[in-house]
Amino acid sequence: MEDRQIRERPARAEAAGRGVAVRLAGITKRFGDFVAVDDLNLDIYEGEFFSLLGPSGCGKTTTLRMIAGFEEPSQGEISVAGEQVQGVPPYRRPVNTVFQSYAIFPHLNVFDNVAFGLRRAKTPKDEVASRVADACEMVQLAGFEKRKPGMLSGGQQQRVALARALVNRPKVLLLDEPLGALDLKLRKEMQLELKSLQEEVGITFVYVTHDQEEALTMSDRIAVMNEGKVQQLAGPTTLYETPANRFVAGFIGQTNVFSGTVEAADGERTTLRTREGLRVEAVARDQASPKEGEEVHAAVRPEKVRFGGSGDNVSAAEVKQVVYLGASTQYIVELEGGGKLVLYQQNAFDATGPLEGDGVSVSWDAQNCLVLGG
């Protein structure tokens, strides 16, 4: 794909030379007959913001709990900072967790909550006081030390949970959907705050979420999981621009999928014909070029389809639905050759687009239309 350059942010480049903070080697976790995690292999690097992303039941939380020590893998090896941790109880592992429910100790005030881990480690009293003060400062909770958790808002409890974990300076911080219970506005704020906090302290974050937008916003790398397996492991841009398979394409953002038979395949260019009879020009990712006659799926993002214009794929269509979204407008059109297509138009200069019922022409480039594996 020489004409499609994927540029990740410099900080997100491959972590060459960095040590491995968490290594999962051949991890399988079974609950009875149910396989929650299936032969998982992952290296998470030091100082990385790493996300496990997937729908509920995909095994992401189980994976996190195995790193924390609350579950033992049925098979495989886990090491944290180079040390194997299977069989090591949670209270002896160099990791700390921020729980989905926060799990603040309701009978202790903020100070005692944050100091809990330091006191278990027999830290001298003066040091406990100064480190707790620093941690509260860091999460903007200074002055709240004497409050009981019952008197704090959801966002503040979340900060207590964060301070309580970070104050111990763990090798790895595990976060289990920590923003799930917050309202949208607060969640957006906390996402950016968490990200800058992570850059500030330099601790490896392993972040579990089912919210793809959240993962894209914060992560250096994301492992998209489904049914206990990693579907794709990549940086946010790569994930979005070149999803490895149909699951990833559908889970990360919105996409239009064409299913059809390959009519012609030369190198990376692939032509397929859908069941409705539409001819679609697409490109194959990496070396996985399909053969003639094969059943494949190809996907194009809604923002990469335009009205009018020319390109490898041009089709007449009728506008079925127009949804004004503020920054952009979403159109659902029915293609002449059959099938529906979603497209986004930025409302950059004016908001005058076609109306429902209008006959239009839509086009998209083959290089933006990707043949999917799986």
Binding site: A68, G69, F70, P89, P90, Y91, R92, V95, N96, T97, F99, Q100, S101, A103, I104, F105, P106, H107, F116, G117, R120, A121, K148, P149, G150, M151, R164, A165, N168
Partner: protein, 272 residues
């Protein structure tokens, strides 16, 4: 009907007028509390009569304190109550933890057995314990009373503590372990403080039940180790005296005090 003619027949539920409901309620409360009120009233009577009011006096309370056998019975009840409560609270709390924390075969049977124990006919429990003590050759006395009281109060403690555990977020225990607390530290620093209101309420309930128990204790007390309820019963055989009224009043007040204390503990908010 009532909805259409607002005001004229307001408050008619099920066709009963307000005053009917009020009268019914008053009668119920009279039925429940009048005999107790009379008992308390005559404990302050200035003559021996328990039927004719002659004037106010503390005479019978004085006699109560002057009677060494009553004081002895009171001491026995207190000793039994405290020891049995301590043992039952510890075992009952551990049972509650075990039942709510572990999934095992026959769990529903174990659950049901705990509840069934609370409604077991006392006479059956009393007889069976008597037969048991005789079979294993334990002499009847304070020891057997304590054992019996522990046996029948454990399930009450378990039920109260389990209710408290059910409302507790398990993840705080995981959080404690995650922060470096061993299982023992986790129990004493997190779990126990959080279920303490339930444990104390269960303990108070156990003490109350032990302090008031008559039927079971009657079977297994042996000679010379009477608890307060047994003492009252033996006194009444020699005729009703206002001393019994006074003694009953003391028992009643003590019991109510403990029960209200326990229920206050149970409803206590976490953020106090």
């Amino acid at each position: 009907m009532a909805a259409t003619s607002k005001g004229s027949r307001k408050g008619t539920m099920n066709g009963l007028p307000d005053w009917g409901l009020l009268l019914g309620s008053v009668l119920v409360y009279l039925f429940l509390y009048a005999p107790i009120a009379v008992l308390i009233l005559f404990s302050f009577n200035s003559t021996r009569s328990t039927q004719v009011w002659s004037g106010f006096s503390f005479e019978w309370y004085g006699q109560l304190l002057a009677d060494p056998t009553i004081l002895q019975a009171f001491r026995t009840s207190l000793t039994v109550g405290v020891i049995a409560t301590l043992i039952a609270t510890v075992i009952g709390t551990m049972t509650a933890l075990a039942l709510s924390r572990h999934r095992f075969r026959g769990q529903s049977v174990a659950d049901t057995a705990i509840y069934a124990a609370t409604v077991m006919p006392e006479i059956v429990v009393g007889v069976s314990l008597l037969v048991f003590f005789v079979a294993v050759r334990i002499d009847l006395g304070i020891t057997t009373i304590v054992i019996a009281h522990v046996a029948f109060t454990i399930s009450f403690v378990t039920i109260v503590v389990r209710a408290r555990l059910a409302g507790m977020d398990r993840s705080v225990e995981e959080a404690a372990q995650d922060l470096g607390a061993s299982p023992v530290q986790t129990f004493f620093r997190v779990t126990l403080p959080l279920i303490l209101p339930g444990v104390m309420a269960g303990g108070l309930l156990a003490f109350t039940l032990s302090f008031d128990d008559f039927v079971i204790t009657y079977f297994i007390s042996g000679v010379g180790s009477s608890t307060l309820p047994l003492k009252i019963y033996s006194m009444i055989k020699f005729g009703v005296s206002p001393v019994i009224n006074a003694l009953s009043t003391v028992v009643l007040v003590a019991t109510l005090f403990l029960i209200f204390g326990g229920s206050r503990l149970l409803v206590r908010k976490d953020n106090t």
